[in-house]
């Protein structure tokens, strides 16, 4: 054999081996919406998954949020697009109706195990006894405060208000006005368009002894004394206690970030942005309780498997889904994205539970509720309008609550009639 021939044989052999290896590789696609930290986290997880699972390649596609649903809806019926997809928990019903998801394989995702290991709000992903998605991370609300302003007001920045009454008293001390009564610094930043509507809906109404919705989620239940008390308490922050103004410094988060508001209610996803705010020194604590009652609002994105994944692809998709919901993946997600681990065992590790910033959210998860929204945009708008009618039009609270409840009931009826 000449050298040239030997070389050619070796080359042929190498190509043949490479060819078989490629034939055995299963490629699956993962889709989520474009959000820098989420994209980086998934890229890192894919790298680890591929190293641990030879023969499976994952293609990562991210789509701008506004096009996300449209592209998925167009791709999957055409046999294209993702095998594993991320979706907001509130979209599940729509996705099931449109046949965009298949049940998770029971071998890897046993219902009893999910219910034992994940936070209870995950139960919303169970339809007809089968799970259609599991989350990597969950989000909750907490009380944020500006440590510098709290200190200046003579309060202890290490001891946040524990009750709604204490919050009002602390906010009063933090409110600054000029001689003409113009607001210079708000005790608490309020914004119904951000997280306040969740706080009112799932936390304040329950703390005042009510329920936002019936147990089956089909009827509005806040149109009563508890709902009126909750909305009154919220509106009073502006009209009676004068510790804030709606629209102060354009929106709630701007007021807080610019150091002109003492307190704010916001979500865990805000931590990264606030950490990047130069000169802002803030603390995080559990939402204030009321008469011994504590509640929180949680929401989450889940990962599901689409009908496109069949045979070896389905197997690979399930393995990948399992991988991105392992405790290690959740820790990475927490570190990169700032969202809380969805498995209780991970979240409740001492390092996380007692973490000064993650801790309050994690403790809040234990008593949190996730609203079964049928149309979050519209339902948020109803709450914004309810408060605006009181603040701008002087409508009596009970009347405004009744109007919001009637309009929301119509929305629920239309959804469940389909």
């Amino acid at each position: 054999m000449t050298t040239a021939k030997r070389l050619a044989t070796a080359l042929g052999l190498t190509l043949a081996i490479a060819g078989t290896a490629r034939a055995q590789t299963v490629e699956i696609e993962y889709w989520q919406y474009t959000f820098a930290q989420r994209v980086q986290a998934i890229d890192e997880l894919i790298k680890r998954f591929e190293a641990a699972t030879p023969g499976v390649k994952v293609k990562h596609t991210h789509v701008p949020y506004d096009d996300f649903r449209l592209k998925i809806a167009a791709a999957i019926p055409a046999g294209q697009g993702p095998d594993v997809v991320q979706l907001f928990y509130g979209w599940l019903q729509d996705y099931l109706k449109a046949k965009l998801l298949q049940p998770l394989p029971q071998e890897l995702f046993e219902a009893a195990e999910i219910e034992r290991e994940f936070f209870p709000l995950v139960k919303q992903m169970k339809v007809g006894g089968q799970y259609y998605g599991v989350p990597t991370a969950v989000r909750a609300l907490a009380l944020f405060w500006n440590r510098k302003l709290v200190r200046e007001a003579g309060l202890d920045p290490a001891k946040p208000p524990q009750t709604l009454d204490e919050l009002v008293e602390a906010a009063k001390k933090l409110t600054k006005r000029d001689a003409a009564g113009n607001l210079l610094q708000a005790g608490i930043a309020l914004d119904m368009g951000l997280q306040d509507h969740h706080w009112l809906r799932e936390v304040l109404i329950r703390q005042m002894g009510g329920q936002p919705y019936s147990a089956d989620g089909r009827s509005v239940a806040y149109n009563g004394p508890a709902g009126v008390r909750a909305v009154t308490w919220y509106a009073d922050l502006v009209s009676r206690h004068k510790v804030s103004e709606f629209g102060f410094l354009t929106d709630g988060i701007t007021a807080f970030r610019s150091g002109k508001a003492g307190f704010m209610i916001d979500g865990s996803f805000r931590l990264a942005a606030l950490d990047g705010q130069a000169g802002l020194e803030y603390g995080v604590g559990e939402l204030p309780g009321h008469e011994g009652r504590r509640f929180n609002f949680a929401s989450y994105w889940v990962n599901g498997i689409t009908p496109k994944a069949t045979g070896p692809k389905k197997e690979a998709a399930a393995k990948f889904l399992r991988f991105i919901t392992t405790p290690a993946a959740m820790e990475l997600w927490l570190e990169k994205v700032g969202e809380l681990p969805a498995r209780k065992a991970v979240a409740e590790r001492d390092a996380i539970r007692t973490h000064p910033k993650y801790g309050p959210f994690i403790r809040g998860l234990a008593y949190s509720e996730a609203t079964s929204f049928v149309n979050e945009t519209a339902q948020r708008k109803l709450f914004m309008d309810m408060v605006d009618r009181i603040a701008l039009k002087g409508q009596p609270v009970a009347e405004s609550v009744a109007q919001a409840a009637a309009e929301e009931q119509k929305l629920l009826d239309a959804f469940f009639a389909k």
Partner: protein
């Protein structure tokens, strides 16, 4: 084969060859989606899943939707007030700017600057201008003049005009420049002849300037009407995407956007777009008819 065609036929073929590119483009990018929007307005579709044919149900729902009527009222206000105020101001500025010789180019450029600024950035700056004292400039001026502060964007009565103001201000530069070009195109001889006949400033304006400016005015009225009927970016950036408070500033286009991409009711949103399409068509046709009539 081409050789066998006559020169005329070859020319026609070449012309069609060039025309085919924009034609295919418009059919694919404009006409097909437009036709599809009409069809979509007859369905119930959540973006995901099948389109379900529902006939005219979306239009019946529109007619009974109080927010739709509120939004239509707002849109008419944007249109009427926006066009009248902006064209009035633009003509006033152009008429006088036409007579200014010193610093003419600089002034014209200054009027044009807002037009090339992004609407979102401007919307946000104006949002801050409308803040209460001590932040807001406008309220600061009011207080300095001894007048009471105004809520502006936090008032259901004032918010629409507060949103309209930066839109008018930004559109002014373009309208002034077009009016200036129109004024320049009027032959100087007419004015001279009229002056010899003893016509004064007011009569020159009414008898010569305005009639001869008609094509320019028609163009600006149509273009601005379409712009104000489609107002979106100022409202979106100045009201955090809500068109509030209490829908006081919400124009039709924002309702379409929210219905489609907030509520995922594509069929219902498409019904709105069909209504907007018809309004745009009617308004444009009527304006062309009325303003071009001799």
């Amino acid at each position: 084969m081409l050789d066998r065609l006559s020169l005329g036929a070859r020319r026609t073929l070449t012309a069609w060859g060039f025309l085919a590119v924009p034609l295919v483009f418009y059919v694919g990018i404009r006409f097909y989606p437009t036709a599809d929007a009409f069809l979509m307005s007859l369905t119930d579709w959540s973006i995901v899943g099948e389109r379900r044919f529902v006939g005219l149900a979306n239009y019946r729902r529109l007619a009974a939707d109080p927010v739709f009527w509120k939004v239509m009222g707002n849109t008419v206000q944007y249109l009427v007030v926006g066009v009248a105020v902006s064209l009035g101001l633009a003509f006033l500025v152009a008429y006088h700017l036409d007579r200014v010789r010193v610093g003419h180019a600089l002034l014209r450029a200054l009027y044009f600057v807002p037009h090339v600024t992004t609407a979102v950035a401007m919307g946000w700056v104006w949002r801050w201008l409308y803040q209460p004292v001590p932040v807001g400039v406008f309220n600061g001026l009011l207080v300095a003049l001894g007048l009471p502060q105004q809520p502006f964007l936090r008032s259901t009565e004032q918010a629409l005009y507060a949103v309209l103001a930066p839109a008018v201000w930004a559109g002014l530069g373009f309208q002034v420049v077009v009016f200036l070009a129109g004024l320049k195109a009027i032959p100087q001889e007419y004015y001279e002849a009229a002056a010899i006949d003893g016509a004064g400033g007011w009569r020159l304006l009414v008898e010569i300037t305005l009639p001869l400016l008609r094509p320019t005015t028609v163009f600006l009225v149509v273009v601005s009407s379409i712009a104000y009927l489609r107002i979106f970016d100022y409202v979106y950036s100045m009201t955090s995407g809500q068109g509030g408070p209490l829908d006081a500033t919400k124009p039709l286009v924002l309702k379409i956007y929210v219905t489609a991409f907030g509520h995922f009711q594509m069929g219902y949103a498409a019904a709105h777009t069909v209504v907007l399409f018809v309004i745009l068509l009617v308004v444009s046709l009527v304006q062309l008819r009325v303003l071009q009539a001799r």
